[in-house]
Subunit: 179 residues, 2 copies
């Protein structure tokens, strides 16, 4: 039994492979990501494309930062917004309500159909950038119950908290029970 993880990020593959004995193989496939209001809609479209090409059990993962006081911005477009406005842009925009969450969605498909798994971590947008680990908006996100940002944590520690870690765990539990 072999599953494809369609991603260009080797670290994500290592992270999930550590959690299970199911064999996971990295595949690079340039699938379309649509513009939509939810990560779920993006992932559904993407996994349908991937499965129709690969015809083998496969999954994709996508995540975003949703800021309450900005109507969920940057959300689905977090990568683009990070590249154009960066952490500084978010700090400029954010007002009094600094509540935010990171969300990760995994879309999995096999001959039985499509299933989605999600993970979230709630927290706050920090007043300034702190830390130099991780990537993306990590330097401005503090998870609930901690005063450090994600960029101030080692990878293993961040994975314990993280939206992606939670989604991976739910997904693996499902796979190991079903198969």
């Amino acid at each position: 039994m072999l599953m494809y993880f369609i991603t260009s990020n080797r670290h994500k593959v290592e992270e999930i492979q550590k959690m299970t004995s199911i064999l996971i193989e990295q595949k690079r496939l340039n699938y379309p990501e649509i513009q939509a209001d939810t990560l779920e809609a993006v992932a559904e479209f993407g996994i349908d494309f991937c499965y129709s090409h690969l015809k083998n059990p496969c999954f994709i993962e996508d995540s975003g930062l949703f800021i309450e006081g900005l109507s969920g911005f940057p959300g689905v477009y977090s990568n683009y917004v990070f590249r154009t406005l960066g952490c500084e842009g978010i700090l400029t925009l954010v007002g009094e309500n600094r509540n935010a969450y990171f969300k990760s969605v995994i879309a999995y498909k096999d001959e039985q159909g499509r299933t989605l798994f999600t993970g979230e971590v709630r927290g706050y947008i920090a007043e300034t950038q702190r830390g130099d680990k991780g990537f993306g908006f990590d330097p401005i996100f503090m998870p609930e119950g901690d005063t450090r940002t994600f960029a101030q944590m080692d990878r293993e520690e961040k994975n314990l908290y993280s939206h992606r870690g939670k989604a991976f765990k739910t997904f693996i539990t499902y796979c190991e029970q079903v198969r």
Copy 2:
């Protein structure tokens, strides 16, 4: 000879129909818009989807506001950014470099293949919102050579300047010459 204009916006159909005797019919089709760095890439993917469904000469139009000092933000995601951050969000973000342009891309496809047409209008981000006509970022965009924003102009006047008007004109010229 009949072409489909795939859009939910009746005004756009009226605007282009005024410019030509070629019969243009509005079609509503929920085609996927992908996440990409350029309007061109989004339009190419979209028109391929539409043409494969309709099998009749058809076109789509998409546009965005590109701000120089913000690395092109909000660009391809202008609709989403307008819905979440609004004009106020842009005014908060924009720094000293207020140069910007609106760009419109039309993708057309028939049995011969796919052709793209573009129109641009260069201008500046205003200091404050002005005017109540138009829609989207019109209240904060002043075209070069005018001190009013798009939202302070009547529709017909705005169309003279506008990126969309220019793209429509180029497209119609092509159709009338080729056909």
